[in-house]
């Protein structure tokens, strides 16, 4: 029912407008904040595009790891409790893989240019 352009397409041009049209005309003390605003719009666009799929994949992994289903927030709390109590730990098969996958997913939304993230995905490809 709702029309195109999609939210992601619209946000894309808003960020481009801030960077290409506004920033060159802004006083120096506003440039930093305008860059942050453009970065924030990019983050939101990425989350709109990929967030739901990434959360679904995470929930599936988490249910598998804990051996039962439930709402994501409850399972994440349970995971925290079990790490805290020591019933799950660094040597538990699948735990590091799950947390690494979650972290990479978060980074792909939050800050895909972060150097440690670039290094981690580059090493995963090799």
């Amino acid at each position: 029912m709702l029309d195109a352009p999609t939210p992601a397409e619209i946000l894309d041009v808003v960020a481009a407008m801030i960077r290409d049209d506004f920033i060159p005309k802004l006083p120096p003390d506003a440039v930093f904040h305008a860059r942050v605003a453009a970065n924030a719009i990019d983050l939101v666009r990425r989350q709109l595009e990929q967030g739901a799929a990434l959360e679904a994949q995470s929930l599936e992994r988490l249910q598998h790891l804990l051996g039962h289903s439930g709402p994501a927030k409850d399972l994440e709390r349970e995971l925290c409790d079990r790490i805290r109590s020591g019933s799950l730990g660094i040597n538990t098969p699948g735990l590091i893989d799950h947390l690494m996958a979650d972290t990479l997913a978060k980074m792909s939304i939050d800050q895909p240019s972060y150097a440690s993230y670039r290094a981690e995905i580059a090493s995963a490809r090799n």
């Binding site: 120096p28 003390d29 930093f32 904040h33 942050v36 605003a37 970065n39 924030a40 983050l43 927030k73 994440e76 709390r77 995971l79 925290c80 790490i83 805290r84 020591g86 730990g89 660094i90 735990l95 590091i96 947390l99 690494m100 979650d102 972290t103 990479l104 978060k106 980074m107 939050d110 800050q111 972060y114 150097a115 440690s116 993230y117 670039r118 290094a119 981690e120 090493s123």
Partner: protein, 357 residues
């Protein structure tokens, strides 16, 4: 060279839990200038006016201003560091205590600016202090990339080590009693408590806490002065190298290796990931220079411990700012984006936990 404080550097007040009643309306230069001139007239001979007052950092609770104090035959380049409506701090120093620490450090010959005035209630400027402005650069990307620093850059790793040791070796009995103690166990206890007070469950932080519990080294033999935020952004550097260490608000007595590991945390490499020592060089060279200066070996396991702690501390710092944002205390785009930087620390913790680095 550029300004003393980088306007774009927003990490100054991070890692703290500051509670402020700041009235930002009191930050108008027209109101600040005459009050500053009146206050400084009492300590700097013949000062009747201040000129060129400008805000350098736009922190939510802490402000940094640059200006000159003018007397008939002299002018002083100065910095004002203040919180407009006062800052009450949890587990950190008040601005007045920070000033007393910096004064004591200056007296013992440490590389810090000279404090000329600690704000008093009758100054009507909030809490804070005024110090001599030291010319140089703090903006990390300029120091790491600009041609002006090309010659000094190869010397900076050992300078960071030597300056750290010059601070760590200070006789702590000369320092104000306001400095809190936070060694290995205390720091972990605080980080654990703050992690569990966060509004969202964070399994990566929990796993890091388990690792830290299992790998905690002995408390340091002699508790040292620890800066707590020793990194680019908080040091002034010019063409000849390090000139001053700033921002002492989370200074404490503890394990000196904390400062070296903090300098190596990935966010403080500012994109130069393959040079762990502040984006400038190798860890090994930093530690070797520190060993040469101090005459004692650095235990690599202890360093590793504080590296893990560094990423946890910065991660908890980012994540806990969600409350600042949601409560309206600092409802800005910048703050929202800093909260979303919690995950970069989860990335760094996972790489440490998975044995990648």
């Amino acid at each position: 060279m550029g300004s003393v404080r980088g306007g774009g550097d927003h990490a100054t007040d991070i890692g703290l839990q500051l509670a402020s009643t700041a009235e930002l309306g009191a930050s108008d230069p027209k109101r600040v200038s005459p009050r500053l001139a009146r206050a400084l007239g009492r300590v700097l001979d013949g000062v009747t006016a201040v000129e060129g007052l400008r805000r350098l950092s736009a922190g939510a609770t802490l402000e940094t201003w640059a200006f000159d104090a003018i007397a008939p035959s002299q002018r002083w380049p100065l910095i004002l560091r203040r919180a407009p409506g006062g800052v009450s701090a949890a587990r950190t120093l008040s601005l007045a205590d920070e000033a007393s620490v910096v004064r004591a450090l200056h007296e013992s010959g440490a590389m810090v600016p000279e404090v000329v005035w600690t704000l008093q209630p009758e100054d009507d400027l909030g809490d804070g202090f005024v110090m001599i402005r030291i010319e140089g650069e703090t903006i990390p990307r300029k120091i790491l990339r600009d041609a002006a620093f090309e010659t000094i850059r190869p010397r900076l790793v050992s300078q960071f080590a030597e300056v750290a040791w010059s601070l760590h070796r200070i006789d702590t009995s000369l320092l104000p009693p306001a400095l809190p103690s936070a060694g290995v166990r205390e720091t972990l206890a605080v980080m654990t408590e703050r992690t569990r007070a966060l509004p969202t469950p964070r399994p990566v932080f929990e796993l890091a806490i388990r690792w830290l519990e299992e790998h905690a080294p002995a408390e340091p033999g002699r508790p040292c002065l620890v800066h707590g935020d020793y990194r680019h952004g908080n040091v002034i550097i010019d063409a000849n190298g390090l000139r001053a260490v700033l921002d002492w608000e989370i200074a404490h007595l503890g394990d000196p290796i904390e400062d070296l590991a903090w300098l190596c945390a990935p966010p403080w490499r500012f994109g130069v990931l393959d040079k762990p020592a502040g984006g400038l060089g190798r860890r090994e060279d930093l530690l070797a220079a520190y060993e040469r200066a101090s005459g004692a070996p650095v235990d690599p396991a202890r360093f590793r411990y504080w590296e893990m702690m560094a990423s946890l501390r910065w991660g908890v710092g980012c994540a806990s700012m969600l409350e600042w944002f949601r409560s309206g205390r600092n409802r800005t785009v910048e703050r929202a984006m800093i909260v979303r930087r919690a995950s970069e620390n989860e990335m760094d913790l996972m790489r440490l936990l998975a044995g990648r680095v």
